[in-house]
Symmetry: C2
Subunit: 312 residues, 2 copies
């Protein structure tokens, strides 16, 4: 089955959607022991993340194309959080023995559609059958253009006291559907890289409070949040009606939003806001401060906000 | 648990064994959304392969350090089969919920020891807990030195009529233990890259007959094998005593030998044989021929050899 599947990948999906061999940097794609890529200029970002049935999705409920989409999207979200342009992906599919070849192809269609949208070359990977749950691992690379404002990439450890913390979209309630359909923020990341420096960044995968906590500890600073400025998703509002916790707490504690969290100077944020060609929403939610190292403090109450979220 | 494990990885293993931050090409390692690597000169090889409990190993029988070793070794074998120098690895561990943190660390120790031996920087990855079998995926990169004799890498499709086919060690019976302990042929690959051109190469993972078949179909040629020259492992001899098939058939059909299969000119093979500083065994087993496209023919009997093996 592996051979038939690989042939199908080569013949039907890669050529039509991904145009892997048309990419200058990909000298040899799927079908050999490995792919060969040009070294080239600029730096490269390497990421890997897996999704597993019953942990990150539910095979009995979720659409196969969307499951495939998510497997690649979470990795492209990491590429975006590094401020890079997505370039290649290696896809490992561990499939339940009972899954039909047709269903396996649908998973790959979800991956290939998203890859095509961002010109990501799928350069190889592995497929395995086993008596266990569906698992998809993607290892992706991205490119840091030497012309970028932060050509070393956006790290977690560079936040400065006085920076504004911004998020790139409404948060919370992602498990209602956003987590499997979201669009990774690659276009936004590139648009920012062409305009201003970002001091620190991460994507919100565990939760706003947890991921902000990581960023603060790596940067050795604290944060003061204006919680009423945190953009709350409609799903978080709906969830709050039945969960017994507030929609703001959903925004702070729910996982898998896959929006970006950015730390940048007030001046650079103003530059972006004033730039009519910059067409993305940015929501300022607070400031990086010298005190409270590693902690997040509520601006209104002065209390420390718990760092809670979704730990896989 | 993920955070504690990541901290352990960062503090205890990576610094001592892998020296990831001392590598010139690794600008940012584990701990952020992604790793950042210098672009650099030469071409890069990208590979990914997974191992899964009950398919590629048996958690109830095999040693944890050896399981970790195998997860990286199969990827380094692909890097060697491309004629490249191993450089980085991203490690994804999908762990059964019941596995202790101590056991998970043992898996990683197996990976880190092998990584250290070949100066492979472990630059990131993912860990997930689930209610299912242990799975480890590795995505690795290798480097093709522009000074190498085949600086584009060793592909499957370049065999020439008249080439000698050689293997790099005894074959068959790998499942008796070799499959989980083997040494990837990186040193041999580099020693050859410094001396002569290889026209086509692959590693023997499914079986000699299957992997030679792939190489022949990609190159549009056939092969004539002198079966009595195929090096047969002691395990294959032992297995033949009880299996009812010959030791030669074990060498042709057993999977997971992870020796290299190389196609090169007679002159270049003679150059290697005459070079006293080249200290590796090479076993000529037959010739690439214009006829029999995609088929393997027994030199003595003139019959076609079945392409059978271990399909995961």
């Amino acid at each position: 089955m592996e051979q038939e599947f690989i042939r199908w990948l080569q013949e039907h999906v890669l050529q039509s959607h991904c145009a892997q061999n048309q990419r200058d940097s990909v000298l040899l794609g799927i079908g050999d022991d490995g792919a060969v890529l040009r070294g080239g200029s600029g730096k490269r970002v390497h990421v890997a993340d897996a999704i597993v049935d019953q942990v990150h999705f539910d095979l009995s409920e979720n659409d196969l194309v969307q499951i495939g989409h998510k497997a690649l999207a979470i990795n492209l979200s990491d590429i975006a959080a590094m401020g890079a342009i997505a370039e290649t992906a290696l896809v490992t599919m561990v499939l339940p023995r009972s899954m039909s070849l047709e269903d396996a192809k649908q998973l790959f269609v979800g991956i290939a559609k998203l890859a095509s949208r961002y010109d990501v070359a799928i350069v190889g990977g592995d497929t395995v059958r086993h008596d266990g749950p569906l698992m998809i691992n993607v290892a992706a690379t991205g490119w840091l253009d030497p012309e970028f404002k932060s050509s070393d990439g956006w790290r977690m450890n560079g936040a400065c006291a006085g920076d504004v913390l911004v998020v790139t979209g409404p948060l919370g309630g992602s498990l209602s559907g956003h987590h499997i359909r979201f669009t990774p923020r690659l276009e936004l990341a590139q648009a920012i890289q062409e305009r201003v420096q970002i001091h620190a960044a991460t994507d919100i995968s565990d939760s706003l409070s947890i991921d902000l906590g990581h960023l603060l500890r790596q940067s050795n600073f604290g944060a003061v949040l204006e919680c009423d400025r945190i953009p709350v998703s409609e799903s978080a509002v709906q969830r709050a009606k039945v969960s017994g916790i507030s929609s703001i707490d959903h925004a702070l504690q729910d996982g898998e939003d896959f929006e970006l969290l950015l730390s940048l100077s007030k001046e650079d944020l103003a530059t972006l806001k004033d730039d009519v060609s910059f067409e993305f929403d940015l929501f300022p939610i607070g400031l990086v401060v010298e005190e409270h190292a590693g902690r997040i403090v509520d601006h209104q109450s002065g209390e420390t906000i718990d760092q809670k979220g979704y730990q896989h």
